[in-house]
Symmetry: C2
Subunit: 132 residues, 2 copies
């Protein structure tokens, strides 16, 4: 069975000028055939992923390719910011950051928070039946 | 901001002949441009997703298309079975079920468990530089 254990691909990381250090686990990063990548983020209170964007060809992009990113909160609560708009996300809530949006997430609460982050290149729109 | 709240796309579901009812939340199911789908599973003790497979053209497939599926445990513990092999997954562990594998997950513990499930059609291998 293809199993990855907690800690097998774990990193303490600071992202994009954010505060503190996030605990990050990446899953099947090099072996997945899914067209998306999956990470677990553990945020202690006071930590933050800085604001950033993923857009191919953009001077400020922090990746060479465009990515859409989905953040799913599984425990605790975080503050998500997308293009200057802030909202609180609690366990079971999710936010979607399209490629090119400036976005970041922070734990401004007094308790740890956990998120799963799924990201990948947005797929092309399906062609219509008449090819237009 | 594109936000989905807990309960916006929630379902109580029984899968593939499994035991009991799972709490399932689907995220951005119709609007995502990610080439993968994302769900949150909440398993009470004694509940199970039955064993199943996703393989295009297979008589026993429960989907018309092939899917690889990644299960990430974010709380509690579950028993994952893939092609007859059983293993216990705890928070932070993950299992990968390639298209065509017979797989299922169960909560045999005394506590609730939570998983994030990411699935999609496996991508084609990249062509080599000489086109072979």
């Amino acid at each position: 069975m293809l199993v990855q254990r907690r800690g097998d691909n774990a990193h303490e990381m600071s992202f994009y000028g954010g505060d503190g250090v996030l605990q990050v686990e990446r899953y099947f990063a090099t072996t997945t055939a899914l067209p998306a990548q999956v990470m677990l983020y553990d945020f202690e209170p006071g930590t933050a992923e800085g604001e950033h964007l993923h857009l191919e060809g953009h001077d400020d992009s922090c990746s060479a390719t465009s990515s859409d990113e989905m953040y799913v909160v599984t425990a605790g609560e975080v503050v998500m910011t997308v293009d200057g708009e802030r909202t609180v996300l609690k366990a079971g809530d999710s936010a979607y950051a399209p490629a090119g949006s400036l976005h970041g997430v922070a734990n401004e609460s007094d308790s740890p928070a956990r998120l799963v982050l799924v990201y990948g290149e947005p797929k092309l729109r399906e062609p219509t039946s008449n090819g237009k």
